[in-house]
């Protein structure tokens, strides 16, 4: 059981640290600063204009999210490209299968009209 002593210490330190941090924050914080929190940049940067003046379509969100998904899938392409020689035909077929699955997703969002801009 002695090997678990560090965990106990760890837990105690964690609890103490948390309580101390939350207490300190409670004591130090500005009373009634809620309006500050509502500003676009909580860190203190002043917003130059109002966001209402520069509206952009909510559709942009959809495009952005879809982009992120397909973008991140390319992480698998890099190691494959580096080792292309050794993986040879088998690796090539594997990667084509992978891409085919992505294409299914792409065709799906295309057909559902997620890429149509207004």
């Amino acid at each position: 059981m002695t090997s678990y002593l560090p965990i106990l210490v760890f837990t105690l330190v964690a609890v103490l640290f948390l309580t101390a941090a939350l207490l300190a924050a409670r004591l130090l914080r500005h009373a009634g600063s809620a309006s500050m929190n509502l500003e676009p940049y909580e860190c203190g940067n002043e917003a130059l204009t109002f966001a209402h003046d520069h509206r952009f379509s909510i559709r942009y969100y959809l495009i952005a999210v879809l982009f992120v998904i397909f973008d991140v899938e390319t992480v698998f392409l890099f190691p494959w490209a580096v080792l292309f020689d050794q993986l040879a035909l088998f690796g090539f077929i594997e990667m084509m299968v992978f891409l085919a699955i992505l294409v299914v997703g792409y065709v799906y969002i295309w057909n559902r009209g997620a890429l149509r801009w207004v």
């Binding site: 992120v68 998904i69 991140v72």
Partner: protein, 101 residues
Amino acid sequence: MTVPLSWYLILGAVLFAIGAVGALTRRNGISIFLSIEVMLNAANLTLIAYARQWESHAGQVVVFFVMAVAAAEAAVGLALFIAVFRQRHTIDLNRINLLRW
């Protein structure tokens, strides 16, 4: 000069703690989700550091998959936030209380 392993691990642990505290104390859905992403990346950093120490590729391979899964998770999560916001005009979890926690 090389950065010792322990530094990476401590950074990973600190990031994980920040993420966990954020996820548990924040009430805004997006903030909670950001905190969770920080936790995932803390795990990534730890995996990479250990992959170097063990000189095994397993840790790096895991990180690739974690990145891909995290992107998928982000897409699903943000879509759910949008769906909720359309119905209720808020993603403050204190105000999403039709069901008891």
